[in-house]
């Protein structure tokens, strides 16, 4: 019986056994669902040993009322071989927390701030985790599915 797992999956399994919870691959669209606590280790492995040197995007999805509710999605690309890999972290906590990827890719700084701003997902050890798009006085995280659609925030005054 041949091993169906693709190469990157095998490499991560070898280095961090049990870190990959699930996987699927359709039409070249390869996805790994991994343990959130290991995401920085896995990203470092992908970057340093497997050539995934480009963090294309970092975002999150709220699947309320599905359990687990949140998915944090990392899109990686290998600029040498042009191959792409999607890594997902699932969490059912109300305030999910995962390690930051900022030490590996500086662009993760702003991407993680955006996800924090709109989704309320904390990135541990982030150097500057504050709102990127909205203003400091804003309460809540508006892209969460339980944020009221017509929820209005009070107007803010000019900065001193």
């Amino acid at each position: 019986m041949s091993d169906e797992r693709f190469f990157e999956h095998q490499a991560i399994d070898k280095q961090y056994p049990g870190a990959v919870h699930d996987w699927h691959a359709q039409h070249g669209d390869r996805t790994l669902i991994v343990d959130g606590e290991r995401i920085q280790d896995i990203a470092r492995l992908l970057k340093t040993e497997l050539g995934y040197n480009f963090l294309v995007d970092l975002t999150a999805v709220d699947y309320l009322p599905r359990k687990p509710r949140f998915e944090i999605v990392y899109q990686f690309m290998n600029l040498e071989t042009k191959s792409r890999l999607r890594v997902k972290v699932q969490s059912d906590e109300l305030h999910p927390e995962v390690p930051s990827l900022t030490p590996l890719w500086p662009i993760a700084n702003w991407l993680e701030r955006e996800v924090w701003d709109l989704m309320g997902i904390t990135f541990r050890d982030h150097p500057n985790l504050k709102r990127l798009l909205l203003y400091e006085e804003f309460k809540g995280h508006p892209l969460r599915k339980d944020y009221p659609r017509t929820g209005r925030q009070p107007l803010i005054g000019p900065k001193e």
């Binding site: 209005r152 107007l155 803010i156 900065k159």
Partner: protein, 167 residues
Amino acid sequence: MKPTNGHSPDPGAALQGQVFTTRFDKLLGWARKYSLFQYPFVTACCGMEFMSTACSHYDIDRFGAAFPRFSPRQSDVLWVVGTVSQKLAPLLKTVYDQMADPKYVIAFGACASCGGPYDDYSTLQGIDLIIPVDIYIAGCPPRPEAVLDGLLKLQNLIQTSKQEWGS
């Protein structure tokens, strides 16, 4: 009738057809409505229609409103062209406060007038929540004809309102 030294014996006859009388208020209104300096506060796609109106094809200069000033302190009319978010609202208020009287505000397009299609957490539901508005131009975005119609309505409003002058 023989003119002497270029002067008519009857001053009224010589001025016939060259002088007309008016009220000072009306004269001031006429001067103000045809010399509008604009401050375009352009934030979104409505700006393309504003540019179209300002350029030679529709030529807003025909109505004496050609000159965009990029300091609010030198402008008479504030065009709020596009979506204003709640985060931007304090800056718009500051720009309005910096303008010298008499000053007028035009809400250009659906977003500036009422929030437009953006009934959400971040969009200001109409700039009249923070500053007074004289003219609303409908449309998403408005055609240049609608923009010129709005400008003419503003000019009519200036002409017919009481002019503040002096101190």
